[in-house]
Amino acid sequence: MLLALFGGVLIGLSASLAHAVARQVVGVSGILGGLLRPPARPLGFGLWFIAGLVLGGLLIARFAAPVATTLAPRSLAWLLLSGLLVGFGTRLGSGCTSGHGVCGISRLSVRSLVATGVFMATGAAVVFLTRHVFNLWGAG
């Protein structure tokens, strides 16, 4: 619980640093979407932010305990469909957990508050259906 809070504080510090120095919003889906739309600037904030995310993962995997998940493996089709929905949905809805959930809510954006409520609700509904109605992957 303290680790979760501390991790959240780091995310908040990252968002605040980006705002303080460059007025950048650290919304991952928005940044990725911008990079997919050429011409991507080779030295822009976005590309290097994404590079930092990947490099951070590499360093943690190299020097810290591996992150273990206890989930039963999901089918490839299930993963691909979920990925497509997240990619399409975050672009259509102008943001994801970071852009709406952290940056937008911190800016008191009504749009972000509504979006966060909606994706939390549909996410919880899908988990309810897969785990408690159709019991797809065992108890998870």
Binding site: A4, L5, F6, V9, I11, L13, S16, L17, A18, H19, A20, G27, V28, L32, G33, L36, R37, G44, F45, L47, W48, A51, G52, L53, V54, L55, G56, G57, L58, I60, V67, T69, L71, P73, W78, L80, G83, L84, V86, G87, G89, T90, G93, S94, S98, G99, V102, G104, V110, R111, S112, A115, V118, M120, G123, A124, A125, V127, R131, G140
Partner: protein, 150 residues
């Protein structure tokens, strides 16, 4: 701001963000699905990620005008923009995908660095979904709201 400076800033912000995502458990889909499982053995820990992140960022955004002058205010409060159908529909679709696998965009990117195969497969599909949106948006651009991406 020079391009090199903005690249360096991006890298630092990305590294700190990645550390936050891993430490908080957001990169572990089991934890995420446990958090969304209100009817089961609910794992409340990820709520503290939001508390920490919003607590720090909200506080900074309120303090920014004091340190950086009134110009910072324009970037601290969101403009009043309408809640639109694309916003609701997009968030709903995103939530469905999130609840299916337990990955949202940031953790999916970090999973690539962590070398976790499942998350990397998800990331590839997610980028495909973003590409699909570009095709869709270019056809219906005039019907979509022109609000900047959050």
């Amino acid at each position: 701001m020079s391009t090199w400076r903005s690249a360096g800033l991006g890298l630092v912000c990305g590294l700190v963000f990645a550390a936050g995502l891993v430490l908080s458990g957001m990169t572990d889909p089991a934890r995420v699905l446990g958090f969304l499982d209100f009817a089961g053995d609910w794992d409340p820990r990820l709520a503290f990620v939001m508390v920490g992140a919003i607590g720090v960022h909200f506080t900074w955004l309120r303090l920014a005008p004091r340190f950086q002058g009134p110009e910072a205010r324009a970037f601290s409060l969101a403009p009043h923009a309408p809640v639109t159908r694309p916003l609701i529909l997009g968030a709903a679709l995103f939530g469905v995908g999130w609840g299916m696998a337990g990955y949202c965009p940031g953790p999916a990117v970090v999973n690539l660095g962590l070398g976790l195969r499942e998350g990397s497969v998800f990331l590839a599909a997610m980028l495909g979904g973003m590409g699909l949106y570009r095709l869709f948006a270019s056809r219906t651009a005039e019907r979509l709201d022109g609000v900047a991406q959050e």
